[in-house]
Every structure is written in C-alpha cells, then in structure tokens.
Amino acid sequence: MSFSDPSPLESAPGPKVRAVRDEFHGDLLEVSMGPHHPSTHGVFRMNVTLDGETVVRLKPVFGYLHRNHEKIGENASYLGSMPYTDRLDYLCSMTNNWAYALAVERLSGQAVPERAEYLRVILAELTRLLNHTCLAGFLLQDCGASGTPLMYAFREREKILDLFESLSGSRMMCNFQRFGGCRTDATPAWLEAARALADGYGAFLDEFEELLTGNEILMARTQGIGRLPAKLAVSAGVTGPMLRAAGVGYDLRKVDGYGVYPRFDFRIPLGDNGDTYDRYMVRVLEMRESIKILRQAFATIPQGPVMDAKARLRGFRAKPGEVYSRIEGPKGEIGFFLVSEGGPNPYRYRVRPPSFINLTVLEDLCVGHSIADTVVILGSIDIVLGEVDR
C-alpha cells in the first residue's frame, strides 16, 4: 500500500504530516478500528495509520448498516416513508419526521395549523435535550468515565422517552408527524407533564455540569483536541453544534426561521476554539436555550386542531416539481430532497444526513492526535450509524 499522499486534499488544513516514504516507513502501523468497537457508536470502521500512537492517516469506512433507504423511499408512498424516517437517526425520530413532513408540505403547498407548529417545536426541542444529553453521556463514556455520566444522561432520557411514548405510542420510533400537522393532539395532562420536565431540566443540567464541565480529566482529554477551523467547517458542510462550536453562527432555526421559531426568544451559543471541549460545551448551552424555547412554547401554545382539514394522507399525490427542505436537527442540518412526477410515490427521495457529512472532516480532526483521542473526537462529532449508512 502506498502512503505517499496521506492527506489527498489540497484544501485540507491541519498539522502537516511528514512524508512517510522515508526510513520510518516500516514503523507505520495500520489499524482497522471497528466495525465492532464500542467507541464507534455502531458499526463503523476507521482505517487508521499510526506512527507510534499518533494518527497520520485515517479513512472512515461506511456502509455496514446500508439498506438503501432512498430506494425504499422511492418505492413507497409518501406516507409509507414516514415511519421509515424514524430509523434514520433513531435517537431523534421526532425531528426526522418533522424534516420529512416539512419537505412534503413544501412540495405540495400544504398548510399546517398553528397548534401543530407549536407541538412540533416542543417535540423538536425535547428531542434536542434528549440527543445532547445522551451525547454528553456517550462522550464521557468514550473518555473512559465508565458508567456514571451515561447513567445520569439515560435517567433523563428515559423521562423524555416516557413523554414520547404517552404521546405517540412508541418510545423511539415515534412516527408522529404528518403532512399537514401531527397525528394526535397532546392532552392538557401531557403538556403539563412536559412543562414540569422542562422546568426541572435546568436543575439536572446544573447537577450534570457540576459533575462534568469543570472536571479536570474531561478538560485534559478534550481541550485543544480535534480543532476544527471555521473556514474548513463551512467548506466541508459541517452543520449543527459542531459548526457553531467552530464559531460560525449558523442555526437554521434563526436563518430559515421555519415553523414558529421566529416567535421565540433564544440565543445561539458559539464556541471559541472549535475543539472537542467546545463541542461539548455548545451542546450544554444549547440545551439551556432549548429549555427557554420550551417554556415560551408551553406558555403560548394555542388551542385548535392539529391537522389541517385539507390534508390528505392516504392516496396522497404531489404535483410535479421538486423541493429541498431542511431543518435544524440536533445533529445538524437534516434535509429532504424530493422530486415528484405526480405519482403516488416520489420519483426521487433523498435524505441529507448531517452525521454522514459531518464525518467529512474526521481525518482532518484526528491527524496529529493520538489514537485514544480519535475515540473522543469521534464521540464529539455525534454520529448515528442508522443515518450515516442509510
């Protein structure tokens, strides 16, 4: 195998890798990390070339969970794809549903009732809390803090999943949004329970942060590790908390203002250094903003139907045309590109998977760091393989 070109892209920054076709050639070690490695968050493989413990080259290998989701989407009706979007990023089925429903609504010019828009925001922000809490737990697990932070995170996750279950009937595969609204309405008791959870979440975050944020080991393992320059982040299509940790203020809730987000008062936390610690910290701060959004949404949610009267689900057909529509998922920009030819199923159904595209910079982040840092950096990117491989 040739190692003459460890970093094939001219635009790729990062530490300069020394030429490997030299007298040290024999010292390089190629390690196939994964696919069954607990730190890879699923079945994901990294072909890592090591000089001692330092990564000089890293090529991710995908596809172990590939099931050609897009082809299945093209052969299913519009409604038939909705439950299947749950399986993309299976931690965030509510936002996947919303992204898909929004794309179909824009494709067909379908309106959504006010109450459904509020309900969508509430569910999306709960999903964000769930995802970021779990991510912090997993990240600490990857750092070697076995158990405790992850158990704290899962305790809170369970409360949110209970809410999802009582609303949609399923903990993770919610299948809740429809084109033109939501499948069921939330009862006053549900809204009250969700409000109580949002009110109590700040206290949990205080507890969580006391355990983690100032923790010496966490800081040593994450600060200065895996720096992502803002320019590369934008060029590489990195989105979500990872982009904002690099200091780029680009949040689709503000930029596109989809749904009823323009009505809420919240801020976009930005990182300073773009390192792993910032990626952790941005997510924690984002959760605090999510709590703010939730409080406002619970205070102002209007009464009314949750389904547009003109919405048609079974036998739905969209006029010929195409649409690309995106929302700010917890992992980044999740978008759907649909091409309709007027038939009962889309001619082209494409998912823009945020965690797949965020992995573009994995090599740039890892080169020059030790193999143990690779695990932490991958943990901070926040991938779900159901979405990466589709």
Binding site: G63, N68, S235, A236, T239, V255, I357
Partner: protein, 220 residues
C-alpha cells in the same frame, strides 16, 4: 438574493460561451435551478463561491437523479378555416420523440456568510451507459467529497478530479449501481429461510442440489 435568471445573466457575462440555462420547477416550492454545461462547471462553481453578493460558501446537499429514456408525445395542432364559413377544422398531429436517459447531479448551495440560498446547480451526463463523466466540485466545496462518492457508488456518475473516488456505502467488489431506476437485485442476493414462497422459488434455481426437485409425472 438574486433570482436564478439574474445569476444566469451574471454567469453568461462572466463566462462567454458557457452553457447555463435555468430549469424551471413547476411545483409550489418554485426552487428553480441552473443547468450548467460540464465544460465550465468547475470555473462557475468557483465563481459562485467567491463572487460578492453570492458567496455561496456552503454546499449543503449533493445528490443524483436517474432519468430513464422516455418517450414524449408532442401535439401540434393546425387550424384550417372553413371557406364556407363553418367551424374551423382542427387537425391534431402527434409526434413521438425519444428523450434519451441521463444521469443528473444536483448541488444545493447556500451562503453561510450572507445567510441566503438555496442556489441549485445541475450537471448532466450525456447518457446512462458510457459517457457518465462530470467534473467534480470537491476542490471547490469539501462537503462534496463523501456525497460525490455516494453518487458515484449508487448512480455510477464518474467525477473527474475527485481526489478519492471509491465506493462508499456498497462494498468495493460490488458491481452495479443500486439507485438506478433499472437496477435489478440478483435473485440469490438475500437467500435466507423465509416463508415467502416466491423468494424460495427464485433462490432454488441457484441451489439445485439442496432441494430435491419434484419428479415430473410422465405424460400419458
């Protein structure tokens, strides 16, 4: 933000001789796109990224579309007025023509700096079989790297100038391109004990020794 027509005019002024056309989107979303000729695509992409007022620094989504050969019927009507003053005679003439199939690559561009978008670019291959090369835009936007690999893998579009064009989701030894509309899954592809009779019947052809074929009764 500038409309696709304005962007096209700007591109044609900057790149005389380049093929740029606006593809209208009839749907309610009305996201019209720019169809670029492959010859100037890379230069145009760089221009779009750097041009003041556009600054499309963020290529969000790259994907392929497979358009099969299709027959289009053009209807031409000729109206001959009746000399006697009666109703005019209308003759409809239908002509069928074949629109050859092609592969299309679609890029959705946004600007993080100016917070606008999308500007949609389309590149088309000449056909679906042997002339399937389009220029890679990975040197312009790094985010195309994995997504173009995916389009190569699933659609078979070859990106000229891509630094690392390999299969990404399917395994390296895989032969076909599964997202193409005419892809047929091999029928022994997923043989497993299954209650579905048709799957078993198809699989049986590939495992003749394992199943004793029922003897045909001699005809009287």
């Amino acid at each position: 933000m500038e409309t696709p027509d304005q962007i096209r005019d700007r591109l044609l002024a900057r790149f005389p001789g380049a093929a740029v056309a606006v593809v209208a989107n009839p749907g309610p979303a009305a996201q019209h796109s720019l169809l670029l000729g492959v010859a100037h695509a890379r230069a145009i992409a760089e221009f779009l990224r750097d041009a003041p007022g556009l600054r499309l620094d963020f290529c969000s989504n790259v994907t392929g579309i497979d358009w099969l050969d299709r027959e289009v019927t053009d209807v031409a009507t000729t109206t001959t007025p009746d000399p006697a003053g009666g109703p005019a005679k209308v003759v409809e003439q239908k002509t069928k023509r074949l629109v050859p199939g092609r592969l299309e690559v679609v890029y959705h561009l946004y600007s993080v700096e100016l917070k606008h978008g999308p500007v949609i670019l389309r590149l088309r291959t000449e056909n679906r079989s042997d002339r399937v090369t389009v220029p890679s835009l990975t040197p312009v936007w790094r985010s195309c790297e994995f997504q173009e690999r995916e389009v190569f893998d699933l659609y078979g579009v070859v990106f000229e100038g891509h630094p690392d064009l390999r299969r990404i989701l399917m395994w390296d030894e895989f032969k076909d391109h599964p997202m193409r509309k005419d892809y047929v899954e091999p029928d022994d592809y997923e043989w497993e004990p299954t209650p579905h009779g048709d799957v078993l019947a198809r699989a049986k052809r590939h495992y003749p020794a394992t199943e004793a074929a029922p003897k045909e009764e001699p005809k009287p």
